[in-house]
Amino acid sequence: MAQAFFWNREAECLPRPQLEKLQLERLRSVVARATERVPLYRQRFAEAGITANDIKSLDDLRRIPFTVKDDLRDNYPFGMFAVPMDEVVRIHASSGTTGKQTVVGYTRGDIGVWAEVIARTLGAGGATKGDIVQNAYGYGLFTGGLGLHYGSEFLGAAVIPISGGQTKRQVQVMQDFGTTVLCCTPSYALVIAEAAAELGVDFSKLPLRVGFFGAEPWTDGMRVEIEQKLAIDALDIYGLSEIIGPGVAYECLEKAGLHVAEDHFLVEVIDPGTGEPVAPGQRGELVFTTLSKEALPLIRYRTRDLTVLNAEPCACGRSCYRMQRVTGRSDDMLIIRGVNVFPSQIESVIVGIKGVSPHYLLVVDRKPGKMDELEVWIEISEETFSDEMKELERLEQLVLSEIESVLGLSVRVKLVEPKSIARSEGKAKRVVDRRDLFK
């Protein structure tokens, strides 16, 4: 058995009956607040004929309608906020399915809850005050950077807000500052490992001890590779900006699933087709209800992430349910270098460029020691084909810059022959994911 560490042992090990009592109280409270302050919820709950007073047990949850990402889009940007703007102290955003971003807001209290769940995450890996946290998640609208930052400070660790990129400098800082904790995407951890190996760095001689890796899908194979190359424990962290950001669920050193911070986030797994709960241990779509969020309470929010929930107690002593690493999506969203990408976003760019055929293919690959790459294949047409290479390069560059400005992600554009992208009846196959993450 691995050694168990806690940031907040009382909350994390709360006996189930007490935890469920707390959840029920908070659920009634959030439903009441949402009804009072969010027009969408007021209308939807009225249609469903449900009020906070009707919720007598956690089982009553399933009488409440779902919330989906498009609800946030339809109420862009702040239409689902449940507090006046003078109580909002932070705004983040992530990709939406079309042009509009998904915007999320936080009160001071929400930032506190977020820092708490990140402190639990780091604490579960044995991090504590005195640790030096190198935070190589991107800082900005993306929740990874600031989420880990505030949580590290709350824990009392010294956080280095280095953000992503400039890999050689990452290695230098790691050596010079004596970094003990690394936070970044798992593929970036391997990029750092590769760069360090080229510089002749011996990780067994560095104080680096543990890493928290998330914001993109990864595998047990990658865990082994990261652990060997960096000589650390590599732990998974899960979250999504709509619910709070990273810290919704986290691994302990048992590395046997991610503990959901259930006192703040009520978790369900449903059949994505029927919306009904799946039997315990069955794979389905994760659904969260925020129990304590103030600025943006979301009730039965469908994440589209597919996984399995495990109710068995963990050897570490935490009482909360564990989710397996996410093993798929019930929609076509891709996560590339921590950025959410919907094929529909790329399609809207391509159809807007004159002469470019609407047939395209997205090819995602992860080569050893490299970050994920997104290739956008575009068919050349009689109209766009030119005998002069500079004209073809200009076309590639135009498509590239339009896509990059929409996605905020660098991509590669590849011109291919007409009709070489397979046509299919009905829903066209638009994505080839060579990363083999979900097998």
Binding site: I380, F385, D387, E388, M389, K390, L415, V416, E417, K419
Partner: protein, 142 residues
């Protein structure tokens, strides 16, 4: 003065060029000259055939992306300084070259294919300098 050149978009995958040359062979089309410009992902095959219209039709029918472009073909002496003389004329006239390739026949002459910024101006400048610019009919019959 302008000669019709056929350009074909070719993805970098094995057998693509073979399909082009086979299609031309099957239709008894003779290639006078050709070159390929390549990138990581694709190439552009440029060729001068003895029957450009038929070549274009045949390749389009086989699913290739084909475009027809005008080029100038000039005769140069097949000896040191032959090409230099022609290029000098263009340079002095301030005409930019997009691309260039050359071919030989069983004569003492070499032929150079030019794609230029301003084809008419270039043709006039070359002829004025005494450079022979070939017509399409002359090339196709070579």
């Amino acid at each position: 003065m302008k000669v019709s050149q056929i350009s074909v978009f070719l993805e970098n995958k094995s057998g693509r060029l073979a399909e082009v040359t086979q299609a031309l062979a099957d239709n008894n089309i003779n290639i006078r000259a050709l070159c390929i410009a390549e990138t990581i992902d694709y190439g552009v095959l440029r060729l001068i055939a003895n029957d450009p219209a038929l070549a274009k039709k045949v390749l389009s029918e086989r699913g290739f992306t084909v475009t027809e472009t005008s080029v100038l073909v000039v005769e140069v002496e097949d000896k040191p300084g032959g090409l230099a003389r022609v290029i000098k004329v263009l340079a002095q006239s301030g005409i930019n070259i997009e691309y260039i390739y050359a071919f030989l026949t069983r004569s003492e002459k070499a032929f150079v294919v030019f794609r230029l910024e301003n084809m008419d101006e270039a043709a006039a400048a070359l002829q004025k300098a005494g450079v022979r610019v070939l017509t399409g009919a002359e090339i196709y019959a070579l």
